[in-house]
Symmetry: C2
Subunit: 617 residues, 2 copies
């Protein structure tokens, strides 16, 4: 029987892939939510069942492959997708997809159906979705098709394109649960601004994707929808907090997704899942009307950004949304239109000969061998293409990181506790880690700050200034001598003379593959990603290669920077991670979205060309 | 003897114009600075004497007119300025001044000398200055002149122009005292970014101007340099906190000044002194390296802006600074170049037929009769010029104001107390007012917040959204129906159909003339100015006319909104204020600096033309 078999699968999925709650150590008493109703888990299970019921029965995988760790090939193998549906969903160049939609070669109903089927396959393998609303999305797709048929014109620059959305982007008439049991049944009475603008652009929002409880975590797990898995290895996490998007996009269950990022939540899952993303500076893209965590914390802000299998998706989304003049709809958005000349790298000498700086190690946590190899690969490819690559040494990483952690903890955990109170337990990995090290900063303690938060923020403009000055380091003495104490400039002098504009791009190591369930290692990646959030630097993530045990041997122990570094060193075992994607972060300046997109395109093109012509060692 | 006579004048100024400290009621014990050194006042007097000594003796007024309340005519009458110097200093059109400098008709040394003399005259009459450095400024002027002579080209868009700076903009080798006794002797080791950029533009920073202790006040008084007076009536304040600039510019002792504004500090003195100003949105202009109060408070930010006797000065300054790409020097500055098309009102139909909305009354404090007349005057003039003017009713003023006050008080006064501690008393008018009303919000209480500040900030995006939506109110139902509850839209429907872009300009009443010494009435004006700070709306102030007892009769009492309103009503007596300038505020949207400048020019041109052709009643 169909329903029995599918029910069994889901139950299997929720228990086998997840440690039983009873195995959790009890949380510290201050963090226990009082008066937990006896049926809280039942309520979550009920909602999860409703999700399952929303899947058309003919899209259910039978049997569900349970032993396979890498599930990436299953969409091709399972037989649920037609040849055309495979062709559509594997068109990672969004410009091509849109062109085919515009020309009517593919209808939006066809494209949306293809991605929806593949999304539902991905869901069964990785548990990446929250809201599933097939009929509604197909009705929208039909509306878009009808418009084209009737008028001969597209609705907008995203005409007919299905777009997946992290479970924060409210849509009228749908729940926005955002990982909280208490939010079950909260039906949005309006679309958030992003969704309004996506409709205006002709897009078809078609699924929403899973998040961690509280959003403030680099994994993706909550009591309502369960845990999302990494399709490259289902015993690994896809990262978080935009982990539902990460798993879905990796499986090509969506051509383009939108996630958010307050300290790495776009970048971690993009790196872990082999995707491209853009973390724009704050307020470049419209967040208004979306639900969020830590509202009222205004010092380090969450931003939204696109995630995709190609830079084409990243660029097209960003340009389309800016083209709607989003500041007219969201008062917090910068009045700054897309700049074609910035995209053409007018501030970077046109892009013909760029100078990149690589930070091999941030001095807090040493990247694992595959990341080091990825950086070497990129360096060699860039140099072969005529660009310059210089070394870049870290500075103030730990200080900036601790400052950011203080800001995130400024409400003493009230935000999370209030949402869990009387509804569900606060998930363990969000609580104070038992693994307390010298890097530990206060996280979820009540009551709050002993001294005013503002005092802790005094240094922030100086961090930003110092960092930005450091990006200019060839120019440092000339222009920025009086912006701060220059002793922290430890990078070598640039080799590229006075072409200072090109110095603003950095490559950083993002240890994308070491995250595993229940290890609470968010801090590891956060060390590399929080930097850009704290300084509001525009940055991207791009995939480079994947872990290869024959090339990525364990290195002899270095002199550990701290306990955290030692701990992370110990985690790496080359043969645990074969095939896991490795991504790097490319960092520009504040509000340099156009230039960062273009530079990432350049890097991606060079990498693609170099992989065709040279060995990867 | 020259020195004796000048010393006597200064002593007279410091005592007669200022209530003796002994007359102050004792501050609440929590605000008393402990261990005040017995010689604190001596230390201040000593610094004040050093300032006096920095004035060339031949520029000292003899005798100093002491009985005159309106001292505006004295620069012309005193005989210290040559005919050319009068011509130079009364050239309020900055484009003309710069053209004459560029053509070499006037050298920068001539121009700087002329303004310096007049600044020193203003200083003796209003006590508007802090740092006086004649030789240094003239050496810079000579450098600029030499460059032109040598190369035939100007150094930059502000070539040769003397510019006055509020006592926050640090200059290498000079003290930046910012109204604190403790800061005496703090010599800056570098120029702040603004000063660096002014040099790059060819300008001649030539004086710094007085501020209130703590900066957080709409008057201008501190223990080091004393109290600044309004040259239109020296028994009145010029406003604050950029009050030194206000008095100096009103007396034409500077062609262009730079002040700052966190809740009205550019706008209050500009209105009280008959000047133009621009309060840009946060981070449009470079603040980095300037000293400030409340550092680390990141929710409502201080901004810097130009003040001048003409809009020409406001525009030229803004365009020149943006032309230096200030984001390269100050990482907090938006990467947003000057937009000529926004200046040409591309988003406002080109500016041919605009639609303005006037808020006659914010529902918290009713403007005094001269302000109401100014609004009527503007309405008539705009309509006569073919523009539309509609009524605009207030909403949420008090709620937004209280939220802002909470943010300003978030550190419990620690910032002020730390700077005064062991050095001087905290000035009384910055302390909790004895005049507690239903509008009172916590100000300087220790310890700090009982609940997290962030919780109080949650509503801020909604305030901004709601307000921005309200600017669009013709369009409200169509576009913004789901951004909030529409019931607060109380304005009438626009008369101008679908030309919605033009609706974004508002005129607000700024009660510019009721401020008097020691009345602690900052709240009055703040009710009107804090709004734009809290919502980060770009706005300008422009002068309209002046108080005329024959036209500005006391009105019968209205139904008072609150005690504050009743109190303020009682202050007005038409015959106390004759000749005091009356200014209004023009409000645009976030980061709409170019458009606000152009609209203010349009309004100013229309007012100028209308005053030539019609009676002012």
């Amino acid at each position: 029987m169909e329903s029995d078999s599918s029910e069994q699968v889901w139950i299997d999925f929720k228990t086998a892939q997840q440690l039983p709650l009873s195995a959790m150590p009890p949380p510290p008493s201050s963090l226990t939510t009082s008066l937990l109703p006896h049926n809280w888990q039942e309520k979550c299970d009920h909602r999860k069942q409703a999700q399952l019921d929303s899947i058309p029965s003919e899209w259910i995988l039978k049997p569900l492959p349970k032993e396979q760790l890498n599930v990436m090939a299953i969409p091709r193998q399972c037989g649920l997708l037609s040849q055309l549906e495979l062709e559509i969903t594997e068109t990672v160049d969004i410009a091509t997809l849109l062109e085919n939609l515009r020309l009517g070669l593919w209808s939006s109903v066809q494209v949306t159906t293809a991605f929806y089927k593949r999304a539902v396959i991905a869901q069964q393998l990785t548990n990446c979705l929250t809201e599933i609303f097939v009929e509604r999305a197909l009705a929208r797709a039909k509306e878009v098709d009808d418009h084209l048929a009737r008028t001969g014109t597209v609705l907008g620059p995203l005409h007919g394109l299905p777009i997946s959305l992290k479970d924060q982007f409210s849509m009228e008439g749908l729940e926005t649960i955002m990982g909280y049991a208490k939010w079950i049944g909260r039906v949005a009475t309006s679309d958030c601004v992003l969704v309004q603008l996506l409709y205006e652009c002709g897009a078809v929002p078609f699924v929403r994707t899973n998040v961690p409880q509280t959003l403030m975590h680099g994994e993706t797990h909550n009591h309502v929808f369960g845990r999302t898995l990494n399709p490259y290895n289902t015993s690994f996490t896809p990262g978080g907090s935009s982990g539902g998007e990460g798993a879905l996009l990796a499986m090509k269950g969506s051509p383009l997704g939108v996630g958010t990022d307050i300290s790495g939540s776009l970048r971690i899952p993009s790196a872990f899942c082999g995707l491209y993303t853009l973390r724009p500076s704050y307020a470049r893209l419209p967040y208004y009307g979306a639900v969020n965590a830590l509202e009222g914390q205004e010092s380090i802000n969450s931003v939204l950004g696109p995630m995709a299998n190609s830079m084409s998706g990243v660029k097209i989304f960003t340009k389309a949304i800016l083209g709607t003049e989003p500041w007219r709809r969201d008062p917090l958005v910068l009045r700054k239109p897309w700049s074609e000349s910035e995209y053409q790298l007018e501030y970077h000498g046109g892009g013909g000969r760029l100078c990149f700086a690589i930070m091999w190690d941030n001095g807090v946590v040493k990247p694992h061998p595959p990341l080091h190899r990825a950086m070497r690969t990129v360096k060699r490819a860039l140099e072969a293409a005529g660009h310059q690559v210089i070394d870049w040494e870290n500075h103030r990483h730990l200080e900036i990181y601790k400052n950011a952690e203080t800001i995130f903890a400024a409400d003493g955990g009230h935000d999370y506790l209030a949402e869990c109170e009387g509804a569900e337990p606060l998930i363990q990995t969000m609580q104070l880690s038992e693994h307390v090290t010298d890097l530990e900063v206060p996280k979820s303690s009540i009551p709050i700050l002993e001294e005013p938060l503002v005092k802790k923020l005094v240094g922030r403009p100086h961090h930003r200034s110092a960092w930005e000055a450091s990006l200019d380091f060839g120019n440092y003495t000339k222009k920025n001598a009086n912006l701060g104490n220059p002793t922290w400039i430890t990078g070598k002098q640039p080799l590229c003379g006075q072409q200072l504009d090109d110095l603003s791009m950095q490559l950083f190591a993002l240890p994308s593959h070491i995250q595993r369930f229940r290890m609470a290692l968010t801090r590891i990646d956060s060390f590399y990603t929080t930097l850009c959030s704290a300084l509001d630097l525009t940055c991207s993530v791009f995939p480079v290669n994947s872990v290869d045990p024959t090339l990525d041997d364990i290195q002899p122990p270095h002199e550990f920077y701290n306990h955290e570094d030692e701990h992370i060193y110990g985690i790496y075992e080359a043969d645990k991670f074969p095939g896991c994607p490795v991504g790097l972060q490319l960092i520009g300046r504040v509000q340099e979205e156009e230039a960062v997109i273009r530079m990432t395109e350049i890097v991606a093109e060079i990498l693609k060309a170099s992989f065709m012509g040279m060995s990867d060692s």
